[in-house]
Symmetry: C2
Subunit: 145 residues, 2 copies
């Protein structure tokens, strides 16, 4: 099976916290990793359910929480309130371009923007910890329709 590294990482986190390994947790992790980023909890639930029909909704949420806690995944709250989960393990910080028509999400980083944010914060006396930048518009494909 794939994603041995992430699975080992998750397992050590689990051991460290005196939690227990479980088939469900590993299945959820694998399916989360196998699929492209930015799934909702419900989308993930349906995918896991296909291979593992007995899985409960709560287990999805509980496992996602663990995955967020250990840094494998991270929650992204969009403009409309929906929460999507994205890969964080060995992924650097990035912002998002989101198509208003088809929902496509492009991951981007602009070091200059990041730097200017720091400058802006400093001007107001803030010490920045993190930020969220969501840019909404039309992707190339959706512009021609």
């Amino acid at each position: 099976m794939a994603f041995e590294e992430e699975k080992k990482f998750f397992e050590s986190y689990i051991r460290e916290k005196n939690l227990k390994w479980s088939e469900q947790r590993m299945q959820i992790l694998e399916i989360f990793l196998r699929n492209k980023k930015h799934l909702t909890a419900d989308e993930l639930y349906r995918m896991v359910k296909e291979k593992f029909p007995s899985v409960g909704y709560s287990t999805i949420y509980r496992t996602l929480k663990l995955l967020c806690d250990c840094g494998i995944c991270s929650e992204l709250r969009l403009d409309d309130g929906t929460i999507r989960f994205e890969h964080l393990y060995r992924h650097k910080h990035h912002d998002h371009l989101i198509c208003l028509k088809c929902g496509r999400m492009v991951e981007v980083v602009d070091p200059e923007i990041e730097k200017l944010q720091e400058r802006l914060a400093k001007k107001e006396g803030f010490i920045l910890e993190r930020h969220i930048l969501l840019m909404y518009g039309l992707c190339p494909k959706c512009q021609s329709k």
Copy 2:
């Protein structure tokens, strides 16, 4: 009473849409405007309730929706999912610095950041429509504690 201009503006919007003027709507608008920005629906509800004890929760939500539709107020969805409403009438676009400790929100704009966002979007072929930038950190006061 204050905010005559905004009230007139709201009233014309209401007439235009063949809706009806009501005491509640005007009270809600006035209290929304009177208070500093970034209230939650519930905070606004409580404030309106003080002067107008019979008001219902739904009327708050319904009026906030109208105020958003006509451009007097706008919804700001924060990182933790809470929705706050802010003044939009004669207020320009701005982003937010938010203190993680005390919740203080500072409104900021950096034209360079805005420009770089456009550049970044163009690089990916996107046509930008809007964006949300939330910067979280510690405000000056909260740094010394």
